[in-house]
Amino acid sequence: MKKTIVAFLFFLLMISPVLAQAQVDLISEKKSIIEEIAEVDRTYKGQLAEYRQAADQFNIAKGQFTKLNTLASLEVAVQDGRKALLLRDRVLLTYLKLIELKLLESDGINLEEKTIALDMTKDLQQDFQAHLDLTNNAIDRVAVNQVADDFEILAPKITSLSNYVSTLLRIGKLQTIYDHSISLVEKTNPNAAGAEPSLKQNEMIRAHTEVVNLMEKIYTNLRYGWDEIRVAREKEKPIDLAKSNASVFADLSQTMLFLAEIVSKR
């Protein structure tokens, strides 16, 4: 008996750092993604500023070439053009990395859509990396025009992906809040076991029913949103969930107000 207890104590002492580490790992993982997002975001903003400067410089050089039409002005325009195209690829590549991290960080996104969006983002990152390498090697007028032509294939892909991911992130956030509010609605349920008896029991029940109805409406709108996203992705059409998202947002705000009122009155 004594040996067993001592062994158990020893085991607990040994395992306590492991248990603590497991908890810490879970939180650290999330924290590291958030930190990575902040870092990539800083890089993205810096690169965007650099691109803008290069694009302005290129437009000036292009204007000069059109006006002067000399070999010297052509050379300046080609080199400035190459630089602007290179920086544009770089900033778009960082943007893709940023949306990839945002997708990873987001909890509320439907798993199937999340996996598809992540795969699409990674594929497009590869395409942009390849294009960036080509642009880097383009040193003359023909080559610079060629990489500009090649970009026209990538442009619709990235705008479409951006629209898709942006929609996922928006609805994902609302979904996360809806999921959390379910437990709050449960906790404020006056019929729940363990709920404190109140003089205003009937009033509380009616108030709670109102909240439940709102939650059902939100659920229906969220389901509609996810269905719309799937259909739009399959048909490769742009998605616009502005109306249903606005409705979910307003109903969630109302739910929070009602819940706060119920809790205050208890």
């Binding site: 603590a20 544009r88 609302l174 706060a260």
Partner: protein
């Protein structure tokens, strides 16, 4: 006069002490019929177990707290946190307001990462007509 031994002092008697007949009796060994009860270590072990459990719990708590770096803030400025009679914030109400804050930062009309404002038609020469 007594005959003195050459090794003896003059104050000593000739007869050795142990031979004088006044020998002391050795103490009798006390025999106890009842065996001595061994003290139980169980309360001590239970105490130690409780101590270790408390230690484990403390380690987990400290680790989590350190990572989360949470500092209990009293959001009294906006007047939204209602204090109970005993001066404590209702945890459920706190939870609701936290979620509401989260909701306000999730406004779907605001694009969190808008598409970069880059010129997608940037080029030197006009594209060839196909």
């Amino acid at each position: 006069m007594q005959n003195l031994d050459s090794n003896q002092t003059q104050f000593a008697e000739i007869t050795p002490v142990f031979e004088s007949g006044s020998s002391s009796v050795p103490p009798k060994k006390i025999q106890n019929d009842e065996p001595v009860k061994k003290k139980s270590n169980l309360p001590l072990l239970v105490g130690a177990l409780a101590l270790v459990l408390a230690f484990v719990f403390l380690i987990i708590l400290i680790s989590v707290k350190l990572v989360m770096n949470t500092s209990p803030e009293n959001k009294t400025d906006d007047g939204r946190i209602v204090e109970q009679n005993n001066g404590q914030v209702d945890p459920l109400l706190d939870e609701i307001y936290d979620l509401d804050d989260q909701l306000q930062s999730s406004d779907p009309t605001i694009d969190e990462i808008p598409f970069p404002p880059v010129d997608m038609t940037l080029r030197l020469d006009a594209p060839k007509k196909k």
